[in-house]
Amino acid sequence: MKNYILKRVLISVFTLLVITLVLFCLLQLMPGSPFNDEKLTDDQRTVLYEKYGLDDPIPVQFVRYVANMVQGDFGVSYNISKNTPISQLIQSRLPISIQVGGMAVALGAVVGLLLGVIAALNHNTILDSICTAISVLGVSVPSYVFALGLSYVFGFRLKLFPMLYSANEAFMSSVLPSVALSMFTMASIARFTRNEMMEVLGSEFMLLAESKGVTGAPLILRHALRNAMIPIITVLAPLIVDLMTGSLVVEKIFSIPGVGSLLVTAIQSNDYNVVISLSFIYSAMYIGIMLVVDILYGIIDPRIRVTGEGGRPGFFARWRRVWFGNKKKGAKA
């Protein structure tokens, strides 16, 4: 197990390095430069390029950037707020995104699980249809529609929650955006939970557990849900990162100073260091969550307990199987 984690961490570091390199190259392909201001003369531009080292060959720039990054220096912003260190820029925004996203994940996962279990236990009844309707709605309606609706009803009409984010009321003012963001997660989790639970409930070991006399919550929690958990976690993991990294539109609607809008502005204004740093953080979060999920698999299902050897379906294989089915690519799970 220890070896396995060590191996995974080393692979993650390498992956991050490759991601950084790809980002570096991609940014060079973007039209324009960070200093697009009409008022700048060519001479001034040259001075700026020289100042930030942007006139060096790309490989040199890359090596220098990675060397600095290893020391925790992600560079400075060229554009968005001039010469502010990136770490400072992100430090003020990332926690807000994580807080709103975290609330959304918690809400989506819990409500989704609940809806899924209720639907599976009462399948082919009205309750099942209601849960299915909710999950279809949640998957198909974009989160900004929910955001606008919630903000109108609960913010503007009922005045239960503030319409805009404010740092003084961090919790209350992130309720509405969290709910809006959580809808997709909730709907997907509900759908997968229902399917998985249906399968598990029909299995023979459930009959055996029932014929032991076990009923009620212990039967569902101990035997059914635990066995249904693997695919659910596989679906949930990437959604967690999606939510944590913020959503541009929802951030705009509630004027949340999160990282979602920061990334978009940075890309528009060619603020290289901001783009690379944020992408780097996203990637690191993804990789970290995948590692956690792989370890969780083993805790939940002893059959896939990590041995450090090959032959075990990893996160991606599992993720593809859950979303696209076992045999054919593109088939619905």
Partner: protein, 359 residues
């Protein structure tokens, strides 16, 4: 039929169960009567889909949710701890009541496929202890001790080590032993074995049957075997019920069914058993397939596959004709007005050979 020395354990009367399906209602069980007495072994034999499992799932209260019990009763007699007898109708009990008082505690079930009947995410020991802790609030230490003991009883070595293992770490035969240990955990007095050896390979089959037999003898419990394998029946059963299309068509002691079968379906089943001593190199199969119970059955359900069918079989369902005190068969051939029909010559020859060997 009733013998004063024999004590009723389970008595199924006129049981009728329908499944609601997308294609319409399926009358899976159409008036089943079964009796089981204390300490005895009963086998229910029939093709796939004849309703043998469904009958006993009804007794366990684990029928699928789309099933409807139309009529009938399943009376079960047991003794309280103080020895006073109690009789209940399992079909009238609420599921919750059955779970609390019957399942595991008094009637336990062994399922067909040990590869799928154990929870893959729970250690063996926990699965065995679960019932005891659930029903009797047995302290964990005591439950552990008892579970280790049970594993020993079902012939698993290194029980302490196995307790902590997961199902996937054991072989099929071992898993079935674990399933038996789980069934025995709360000392039930009736064991229902639903095709207990079908999923196992032949060498393991005999061992598992011996194990169940031994446990039965040691504990003096009653056992019901649900199977399609007459070889299993021959090894274990005292009484046999032959089931076809949701009905019992012949019932009798093991000797009566094997040496003096009366129903053409039983003839077919017996003829279809592989036999090493025959000159014929083809294996007999019963022609056709069981009726689709989506459609109502008129007359004898077996008539279309029965070369001995009479005209009346098309119109009227045969009642159970009495052959002896213990032997009944539902075929018009036993009516006194029916023409004299003998069992197939090949089967007769085989039975004669078997009788000779037995003597």
């Amino acid at each position: 039929m009733e013998n004063t020395n024999r004590e009723h354990v389970l008595s199924i009367r006129d049981l009728s169960i329908t499944f609601k399906t997308g294609a319409g209602p399926v009358n899976a069980i159409r008036g089943v009567n079964i009796d089981l007495y204390k300490g005895e072994t009963l086998a229910v034999v029939g093709e796939s889909g004849s309703g043998k499992s469904v009958t006993f799932k009804a007794a366990m209260g684990i029928l699928a949710s789309n099933s409807i019990v139309n009529s009938g009763s399943i009376t079960y007699t047991y003794h309280h701890n103080d020895g006073s007898p109690a009789t209940v109708d399992l079909l009238k009990m609420k599921t919750k009541e059955i779970r609390r008082h019957i399942n595991g505690k008094r009637i336990a079930m062994i399922f067909q496929d040990p590869m799928t009947s154990l929870d893959p995410t729970m250690p063996i020991g926990k699965q065995i202890m679960e019932g005891m802790i659930w029903h009797y609030k047995t302290p964990k230490k005591e439950a552990w001790k008892k579970a280790v003991h049970l594993l020993e009883e079902v012939g698993i070595d290194e029980p302490e080590k196995r307790m902590r293992q997961y199902p996937h770490q054991l072989s099929g035969g071992m898993r079935q032993r674990v399933v038996i240990a789980i069934a025995l955990a709360c000392d039930p007095d009736l064991l229902i074995c639903d095709e207990p050896t079908t999923a196992l390979d032949v060498t393991i089959q005999a061992k598992i049957l011996e194990l169940i037999k031994r446990v039965q003898a040691e504990r003096g419990i009653s056992v019901i075997y649900i199977t399609h394998d007459l070889g299993v029946v021959a090894k274990v059963a005292d009484f046999v019920n032959v089931m076809y299309a949701g009905k019992i068509v012949e019932t009798g002691t093991i000797d009566e069914i094997f040496y003096d079968p009366r129903h053409p379906y039983t003839w077919g089943l017996l003829s279809a058993m592989p036999d090493l001593d025959t000159d014929d190199d083809r294996l007999y199969t019963i022609p056709g397939s069981p009726p689709n119970l989506l459609h109502p059955v008129t007359g004898d359900a077996f008539a279309p596959r029965n070369k001995y069918a009479l005209n009346i079989d098309e119109r009227l369902e045969p009642p159970m004709f009495k052959v002896s005190e213990t032997h009944y068969a539902a075929t018009w051939l036993l009516d006194e007005r029916a023409p004299k029909v003998e069992m197939p010559a090949e089967l007769r020859a085989r039975i004669q050979r078997m009788t000779k060997e037995a003597n």
